[in-house]
């Protein structure tokens, strides 16, 4: 499912226009990401939780140049689905 499909579904569900849906979804995503970038975890009932995760720096080996390189530590978003969602997906 692409973003477009999702937005279309949303607009049908919520009776918002496509433009409004786009705007709202982007603001939603911004809100979530801002929360994460501030170091907070965002948990959404029935869906799961987003949390900031830090990847440690690591050494990698480039076999062609035969050199070791250090990958700088970086931050990503981690997601863990909620138990409710897990039940919903696995009970059929």
């Amino acid at each position: 499912m692409t973003n477009k499909d999702l937005l279309e579904k949303l607009s049908r569900k919520t009776n918002f226009g496509m433009d409004e849906v786009k705007k709202l979804s982007s603001s939603l995503i911004d809100a979530v990401l801002e929360g994460i970038s501030d170091g907070n975890s965002v948990s959404i009932q029935g869906f799961g939780s987003f949390e900031p995760r830090e990847k440690a720096s690591r050494k990698i080996y480039n076999p062609t140049t035969k050199t070791y390189m250090v990958v700088a530590p970086k931050k990503t978003v981690g997601y863990k689905m909620s138990a409710i969602l897990k039940d919903r997906l696995n009970t059929k």
Binding site: M1, T2, N3, D5, L6, K9, L10, K13, T14, F16, V21, K23, L24, S25, S26, S27, L28, I29, D30, A31, V32, L33, E34, G35, I36, S37, D38, G39, N40, S41, V42, S43, I44, Q45, G46, F47, G48, F50, P52, K74, K75, T76, V77, G78, Y79, M81, L85, K86, R88, L89, N90
Partner: protein, 485 residues
């Protein structure tokens, strides 16, 4: 920091950003996550959300675990889970912002350092180097002009320039010496080649002396011809190599020297052509003689080959006769037992088979047709036949029957191992359900397959890995003996 933002916080943020009521924002956010879950629940493999990432359904396979309290094995059933991979942009956003926070002091310092000198010293420092640069460039141009312009005029002029400096003269000398060495090497090679030619031609002459007595006159002149050739070739070799190298790399003075040296050698060639005319005839004669000798040699070689072939042809029929004994082989289970029963015979075979073949040529012919239809034998019985046939040669017809009996006995022996094998296979099949304690890894076999084979499920893989303490379960070496839990 490190707070847990609830759904309500997000809704508030949306309401702020999008300038809508909290109710509408709440409804929208609920709908947003509901649609994602719905689509995933409906069996859609992945949901892409622009600006956030991809939610993907991933199946987690069932696996076996052990109850810690009572050590019983139980299966953790497989399930589906939602995996999330954030977009590249999201990671950039997170790291970019954090990098900005962390490294701002470092970044701010560097521009400050750059700005200060630019404000104070720019007018003085920047203009000065520019002027200096301009000067130096002009100077360089002026300095380099005479050198650079004069050089390209003539290649020789360039060489003169190089020679004029003491260093370049040394270089030229080195080059010249190298060229000299090369020339010497070339001369030596030419001489060697000529010496070889002389030898060959002497040989030819000797051969001709035997075959053609008239050509006795030739040798002397041929030698001359060879001598004539020698300087020719040597000079030919020297002239190109010497001249090229000397012209390119040496000065005019040295060139003259080189030419003088070269000229001394070509002086020999001036004498040559006169002799050459005379020697042409002898050349033709020598060539003809050479061809004749080669013909003779070839004839002799051919004779030898024919002789060898004849020998081969004599040998072949023995083989061809010996083969048909073995050809009507029944596909009876060729087993190691047969080998073990006749090790002594097989050892005899190597020594006696040669003799046997010789005998069989004459004697075995009438014997074979009788034995063939009665006892077709497996390939492993090969070695026996010649020895038996030898026995026959010693005491012809009575032993034949004995031999037949022997062969029948051997047949029975051969059948037995086959039965044994069959029994073994049945044993194996019987063992399968009862689970052997070990398993030897075969080619193309994975631990999952082993698990499937002995336990009926692939959930026992973890248990096998644990039992064997395998460090690399994806790469178990071939022939590795696995203990089965």
């Amino acid at each position: 920091m490190n707070e847990k933002l609830s759904f309500q916080n997000i809704v508030d943020l949306i309401a702020l950003k999008a300038d809508i009521s909290k109710k509408a924002a709440d409804a929208f956010a609920k709908a947003f996550f509901d649609t994602i879950t719905e689509t995933l629940d409906a069996g859609d493999e992945s949901v892409k959300v622009k600006g956030l990432g991809t939610f993907k359904l991933v199946a987690v396979g069932s696996r076996e675990s052990v109850n810690v309290s009572n050590g019983e094995r139980f299966v953790i059933p497989g399930y589906k889970k939602v995996a999330f991979t954030p977009e590249e942009r999201v990671i950039e956003f997170l790291n970019g912002k954090n990098a900005g926070e962390d490294e701002t002091p470092a970044i701010k310092e560097t521009p400050a350092v750059k700005e200060k000198p630019s404000a104070d010293a720019k007018p003085a420092a920047e203009e000065a180097p520019v002027v200096e640069e301009a000067k130096t460039i002009e100077e360089l141009i002026q300095v380099s002009d005479p050198e650079r312009v004069e050089k390209p005029k003539d290649a020789f002029a360039g060489i003169d320039m190089i020679i004029s400096t003491p260093e370049s003269v040394e270089e030229v000398r080195r080059l010249y010496e190298q060229a000299k060495e090369k020339m010497e090497v070339a001369v030596e090679e030419a001489r060697k080649a000529n010496a070889e030619k002389v030898r060959l031609e002497k040989l030819l002459e000797r051969l001709e002396a035997h075959t053609v007595p008239e050509s006795m006159e030739a040798p002397k002149d041929e030698k001359d011809a060879v001598e004539v050739l020698a300087p020719n070739e040597s000079t030919e070799n020297e002239l190109p190599s010497g001249e090229n190298l000397s012209e390119e790399k040496s000065g005019e003075e040295k060139r003259q020297e080189a030419f003088e040296r070269l000229m001394k050698e070509p002086s020999k060639t001036d004498v040559v052509p006169q002799k050459e005319k005379k020697t042409k005839r002898f050349w033709t004669i020598s060539i003809v003689a050479f061809v004749v000798v080669i013909g003779l040699l070839l004839y002799q070689i051919f004779r030898n080959i024919e002789a060898v072939e004849e020998v081969a042809i004599v040998e072949q029929p023995t083989k061809t006769l010996a083969k048909p004994k073995v050809q009507p082989v029944k596909p009876v289970a060729a087993t190691p037992v047969v080998q073990s029963t006749k090790p002594s015979e097989s050892s005899r075979k190597s020594t006696e088979s040669a003799k046997a073949e010789q005998h069989t040529e004459h004697v075995a012919r009438p014997v074979n047709p009788k034995t063939q239809p009665i006892e077709p034998k497996p390939q492993l019985a090969k070695p026996v036949q010649p020895t038996q046939q030898q026995d026959k040669i010693i005491s012809p017809q009575k032993d034949e029957k004995k031999a037949e009996q022997k062969k029948f006995e051997q047949k029975k022996v051969e059948q037995k191992p086959a039965e044994k094998l069959a029994q073994k296979s049945t044993d194996k099949s019987a063992q399968k359900p009862s689970r052997p304690s070990t398993h030897v890894m075969q080619r193309g076999e994975s631990l999952t397959r082993v698990s499937q084979k002995y336990y009926g499920t692939k959930d026992s893989v973890q248990a096998i890995i644990r039992k064997n303490k395998l460090k690399d379960p994806d790469n178990v070496p071939l022939g590795y003996v696995i203990k089965l839990p």
